[in-house]
Amino acid sequence: MFRGHASRLLALGGNRLARVGLAGATLALLLAVLAPFLAPHDPTQTDLARHLLPPGLDHLLGTDQLGRDVLSRILFGARVSLTVALLSVVLSVGIGVTLGALGGFFGGWVDGVVMRTVDLVLAVPRLVLLVTVIALLRPSVTAIVLLLALTQWPAPARLIRAEILSLKERDFVEAARALGYSRARILLRHVVPNALSPVLVAATLGVSHTVILEAGLAFLGLGVPLSWGTLLLAGQANLITGAWWLTVFPGAAIALVAIAFNLLGDGLRDALDPRQEGPS
């Protein structure tokens, strides 16, 4: 759907901060994908003889109370945290865009059903639901992703619905009707692509939001093993012993990824406006 926009997306309209964000986000993803090759140690290998070592040559970011290498754990943790964030965002945006677009475009009872469902989902206190269900199901990537997706789709749904409601009134959509285009063509080719920009921006910002949310869940004891949140929680217990590296490095990883996706999201907001593009 974004064919032809790829170059513009990558150029990010020459926005320097956004490029930093793109670089940061790409780096985080690369590190996560290549973790097995990059990690100097097995992240689960315990070695009590070498526990709580401060950062040094052997263990660049130190070791934890069981002697596991912190750098390796952060690299493998990136896989967990980013998988949770990306999958849940992709899923929630997928659900939200589909339902919101249908409701906004067709209106009437379709819209009624979609919006009442949105109200229903928003009426459930999300944190309570997450805590309860995860506690029952045992924390796992699948459970957290599904729960996050099922509770987060109303935001993109509302966003795209509002966009579509205003697009429907635009002359180019009226022109498409006058030209005898089918409703499916009008929706998929003329309406939705013009409504996606804010959703894509929101989704990018959603990734950073979810990374932080997952860390919060971990603090409630509901984190997936090895996720950054879980690492942070474990490190916290050792803060009094002076092992700062167990909290500072996972915390920094969370903060840097959140900042990177935030910068990228803000940059996309500018870059996706077709009027920002120079003559081609």
């Binding site: 002359d171 180019f172 006058a178 005898g180 077709p274 003559p279």
Partner: protein, 259 residues
């Protein structure tokens, strides 16, 4: 000669909205447009001009009355019939840039019309080139998106898009109101030439009495959804029978006296 478009007692009422009652935009309007003829519709904002133009193409559903296109009742057309109507009756809009999808290049937008209406693939490029030639645009614009074009260029693309289906009737809804005087003259001339070359019928909607006078064979003056005056341009100008027409004329007068 039989009428190409015929409206009988057409009424369009929009349902009540929050805090407001139902609103009748068009109230019992009847007229005909013959083949090759331009019927000008003039009125101020809120007169119902735009709704009338859209109802004529069944982009808005009338609440009463009938629209006939080439003798057939437009109101009773099924999906397939409506599609055939879209090939014979087209529309050009007021906002030249806003009537084009901002994400589509000019070439894509024109090719899309041809694709949807079944022009064989091998003929599409040739037809697009022919359309550009008709509206006096160079092929350089094919790769441009609307925001890279001037208002006049956008409106030419809008006209080319409407012509792509080879229509017999074009509803022109304020086609030059958003354009500068010198560009307006270019577009009006283009429309006059296209009409004679392609034997088109126009429903020409405008708030500008001078423009409607210049472009039309007959004029309807619309006020609050009703026809208050009808006649040839010179009749309406020389002997306006309705006080409202006289007011409109007085407002436009210093400009009209020139030339």
């Amino acid at each position: 000669m039989s009428a190409l478009l015929e409206l009988q007692e057409l009424t369009v009422t929009f349902p009540a909205r929050r805090g407001e009652g139902p609103f009748t935009a068009v109230d019992g309007v009847s007229f005909t447009v013959a083949r090759g003829e331009t019927l000008g519709i003039v009125g101020e904002s809120g007169a119902g001009k735009t709704t009338l133009g859209r109802a004529a193409l069944r982009l808005v559903e009338p609440s009463h009355g009938t629209v006939r296109f080439d003798g057939a009742d437009v109101g009773s057309l099924d999906e397939a019939g409506l599609r055939r109507l879209r090939r014979r009756a087209q529309m050009v809009f007021q906002d030249p840039m806003g009537s084009l999808n901002p994400r589509l290049r000019v070439g894509q937008a024109l090719r899309e019309v041809l694709t949807v209406h079944g022009t064989p693939r091998e003929r599409r490029d040739r037809d697009v080139a022919e359309l550009l030639r008709r509206v006096e645009l160079s092929e350089d614009v094919l790769e441009a998106r609307p925001h890279e074009l001037s208002g006049g260029q956008c409106q030419r693309v809008g006209i080319a898009r409407a012509l792509a289906v080879r229509p017999e009737l074009v509803v022109l809804d304020e086609p030059v109101s958003a354009l500068d005087v010198s560009i307006q003259a270019q577009i009006l001339n283009l429309l006059l030439r296209l009409q004679s070359e392609l034997a088109l019928s126009f429903l020409f909607i405008s708030h500008d009495l001078a423009v409607v006078h210049r472009m039309s064979d007959r004029i309807l003056v619309l006020r609050e959804g009703r026809v208050v005056e009808e006649g040839t341009p010179d009749m309406v100008f020389r002997q306006p029978s309705h006080p409202y027409t006289r007011t409109l004329l007085r407002a436009a007068l210093p400009q009209m006296e020139r030339g």
